[in-house]
Symmetry: C2
Subunit: 380 residues, 2 copies
């Protein structure tokens, strides 16, 4: 008997309240019951995105919502600047290239945040850039990019299109206040849902661009979706169960309070980083760490793949691996979504024990103690 | 958002596999489907009880099964010896007295095990004792009684009637091998089920006594139950969902292997005791501790009720309190049922943090580290 702990940056654990909301006799989607649940969820989403505009819900993964951003806003051959500091920066590149855009790539060292002045410089060198595509939180490197500062540079220029998949619901990303033009997320992170829903919201000027954009789209046509969703329906068959789950998870977040949700993520991330540091481990992104997950450099000589297998098979714990050049060199411990203080103790306790099994000179309790000091802040 | 951790000695957490088995469209109990599930579960129960005889399943709590033992085996005015070393020893007294038996009470200090030679002496002083009623694991004091040794004294004398509520499925209690005459348990402990099922098995000579016993019984008439259950049915309406859950939980225990189930409980208990000791805390039952739960004496000046409220309200953790004269003076940390190594880390991490909040000079990680050393044994 090995209990399972899902501590990867998505999918994340699903609260029982959400499971129960989804576990209902299937209803048809062209019904008042569905429309009511959908409208209630969409209203809550506006607060989460910090927008007065529509947040559209797609039956897709987060990547579908990313593609919707590209396909609805640009025309063939238009130039975009892609900040590529990890696997999801690469994904913006791949989508843009697949749709025939001309991509200016701004490569950023993995684990580093892009510097706004470098973006500013690129916008001067390429004045015909129509959009800047970036991650708020680059999940693959557990790094935050400074989208708020970047939005200052783009507000009168190119559209700022932000992948918020491990940012929305984790930290404040108020898109209207910050002048973000497009904000995208998925269901399986902070929203505490199974994968299967993509979310996208557009600024007024981005909606204006949808009228001129000539890239082909059908399933992901946001104008069609907006028309339908404003009437409580969807253009195509919605993921009915997930919508009922969404209403429940947004209700949970409202009850906790968004400020407390953000503070919780920040605290759990800080506790995880303090624990890793106390254990003498280096962080992948020490300067601009994401509150969604913490990348930890493994000591030399440890094979990360074997370590992750050990966590999963012997301890029942799923952490995330490093990707591409970080493969085998890091682990990523997530603290996003339905995660509490004691999940951090489980993660760090398991890390201490596994490192010892792999021959590292670990002092048990040392990382835990550093985490406990920070987790105490939430208690009174 | 406060995640909930149920770490009390029953009810205990329910595995998803069991929840799903129970979460089915209700079926009628006079059907081949029910009879099949029931027969399969009853067959598995024999291995768990270590008996060739029937294990009867009652729609009752564990107390119902205790009452069934008394009501089916004795006649008014008969004399029984009750080992009373805690709340559940007291319960044997109350049941026996309610049914008009003459009770010889053997009081045992809370947290101590009864000594077999004291029982031997009582049996000499009162040669007309017809039954010895005892707990294998006295949940209220987290103490084991030496039922195996006691069975050596009773095998040719009075019936030995054992409350195994926090023993069956926690440690080996092979009733046929040990010459236990009656073994009782409930569903909400090691069996990883909600409350609602009582279990009872009788030795051949106990079955013989049921024919002579004159105490009144109707709902709990074991002869009637045996007749029905041997045909795949029950005398009265069974708790259908719980039976489906029972089949699933027994299947999980079989897959883990009973020896490993016992070893897990023993290891988690040892880790919990080591942690408490490392934190300078005294154990309630240092000499004969139960592997189901660990009673820990609280430092002077700490109000146990307030501490338990704090665990529950601020940390989402449910431990058990002390009862009667131990009220407010101890906490009981359970490690029975669907509990793994990391639950112990959660329990001890929370204990360290709460004690510090309550003004104790705790060194974070000290108890955890002691637990980790022991929990490492299960890893390779």
């Amino acid at each position: 008997m090995i209990k399972q702990y899902l501590l990867a940056p998505g999918p994340t654990p699903i609260p029982n309240e959400v499971v129960r909301a989804m576990d209902q006799t299937m209803i048809h989607h062209r019904t008042p019951q569905f429309s009511k649940a959908f409208a209630e969820a969409r209203e809550e989403l506006k607060a989460l995105f910090g927008t007065k505009n529509d947040v559209l819900v797609l039956a897709s993964s987060g990547t579908g919502a990313m593609e919707a951003a590209v396909a609805n806003l640009f025309s063939p051959g238009e130039k975009v600047l892609v900040v590529n500091g990890g696997k999801f920066g690469e994904r913006w590149m791949q989508i843009s290239q697949a749709f025939g855009l001309e991509v200016v790539q701004l490569k950023v060292e993995w684990g580093k945040a892009v510097k706004p002045d470098v973006i500013e410089n690129h916008l001067k060198v390429y004045p015909d850039i129509q959009g800047v595509l970036i991650q708020a939180s680059e999940t693959s490197t557990t790094t935050l990019h400074p989208v708020r500062e970047i939005a200052q540079l783009t507000r009168n220029g190119p559209l700022l299109i932000v992948d918020g998949v491990t940012a929305v619901g984790v930290l404040p990303v108020p898109m209207d206040d910050w002048n973000i033009d497009v904000l995208v997320t998925g269901s399986q992170k902070a929203l505490m849902l199974p994968p299967g829903l993509g979310f996208i919201a557009l600024s007024d000027r981005a909606w204006g661009r949808t009228e001129k954009a000539k890239l082909p789209r059908f399933y992901l046509d946001l104008r069609l979706e907006r028309k339908n969703q404003q009437k409580g329906s969807t253009a195509f068959t919605p993921a009915v169960s997930l919508i009922f789950g969404l209403r429940a998870s947004l209700q949970m977040m409202r009850e906790e309070g968004l400020e407390r949700v953000y503070a919780r993520h920040e605290r759990l991330a800080r506790a995880t980083r303090a624990a890793a540091t106390a254990l003498g481990l280096r962080l992948l992104a020490p300067d601009n760490p994401s509150p969604a997950a913490t990348g930890i450099m493994l000591p030399g000589g440890i094979d990360g793949d074997k370590l992750l297998d050990y966590f999963r098979e012997r301890m029942g714990i799923t952490f995330a691996e490093g990707q591409d050049q970080l493969r085998g060199k890091i682990i990523r411990i997530a603290h996003v979504g339905y995660i509490g203080a004691f999940d951090v103790l489980v993660a760090i306790g398991a890390l201490e024990m596994a490192l010892k099994k792999f021959g590292q000179p670990v002092k048990f309790g040392q990382g835990i103690a550093a985490a406990q000091e920070i987790l105490m802040e939430s208690l009174d």
